[in-house]
Amino acid sequence: MNPRTRLALVVVAGTGLAVLLVAACLRLPRFGGDSHPYGDRAVHTSLARHTANTVASVNFDQRAFDTLGEMTILFAAVVGCVVLLRQTRDEHRARPEPADVTPPVRRYALIVLPIALATGLYVIAHGQLSPGGGFQGGVVAATSLHLLYLGADYRALERVRPVGLYEVGDAVSAAAYVVTGLAGLIGGTAFLANTLLPYGTFNTLSSGGTVPLLNAAIGMEVACAVVVLLARFLDQAVEIVEESGK
């Protein structure tokens, strides 16, 4: 299968697929149409349970079981990366010399790091009120930690971020999500059902029953997962070196 025939096959198949897709697009309802049956019901249920951010209500209340599946995919991807990027026998760790970063960049990194971390936690905490949630806040918080590597050097990051702790945090938060679901089961209703806690007053931090709890669990899980992921990638790219010039 030389590239020539492969390109021809791609062009032919692509054209056929394009024709079918365009034909399908022409029969879809108008962009901006008014018929959104699922949306209206989701908004109604979210308001009934005093959750201001309907998207968070859909994610953590009406479709909490699907989010459990999403979290498991995320967890499996991280475990896969950890296994794949481990240090094999014929590799050793070479300590990287610190890169000399000019003072303004270093100062900027050290100033913005706490602000970004606070913003990440704010996005997680306000997940069920304003735009945001566990998924977004977790990534923002985890990325902000790596400003230390970008602004200073890798050793500074390693001192601050013990990877083992984050791996345990990843597992604990994944378990917390499942335990919160089981609590619903123990409480006599269904798994991950949002009938345990009172729904609280609308548009306040404690509103929405179990939505804030599941939101926090997902936020911690995504943050720990991204930190572990980047730790493995940074180890491979910066520290681990082949033993022999294979």
């Binding site: 962009f31 008014d34 699907d66 999403e70 991204v226």
Partner: protein, 115 residues
């Protein structure tokens, strides 16, 4: 305007598939795959849009005061973006392993090595 977003989603998907099929570097192929994924977000959110509506987030507006777009598709796209990033990381880890074991990340050279 009624069908433009759907056509843009189809165009992005086909461009991503073309890049994926004709790529000569596995890291470039992973990038093209993430382009394909973003096509699904555009299609999902285009399906859920409603004219002069606003987001179904009621932290700063009264519920029911303005028409809202569909939150279900947003919930689907939201989790997909983050999971897509971790799957991209897993694929890159596989590419690093291929690079380590075979010394090259060019898909054509790889098939020759095994052949």
């Amino acid at each position: 305007m009624d069908v433009l977003p759907y056509l843009v989603a189809v165009w992005i998907f086909l461009a991503g598939c073309y890049g994926l099929a004709t790529s000569r570097n596995l890291i470039h192929a992973v990038g093209c795959l993430s382009v394909c994924q973003s096509a699904t977000y555009v299609l999902l959110l285009a399906v859920g849009y409603r004219d002069d509506a606003t987001a179904p987030v009621f932290s700063d507006i009264e519920p029911g005061s303005r028409p809202v777009v569909d939150p279900v598709v947003q919930a689907l796209a939201l989790t997909d973006v983050v999971v897509g990033a971790t799957v991209t990381a897993l694929l890159l880890a596989l590419v690093i392993q291929v690079g380590k074991r075979h010394g090259t990340v060019d898909p054509d050279e790889l098939s020759e090595l095994r052949g």
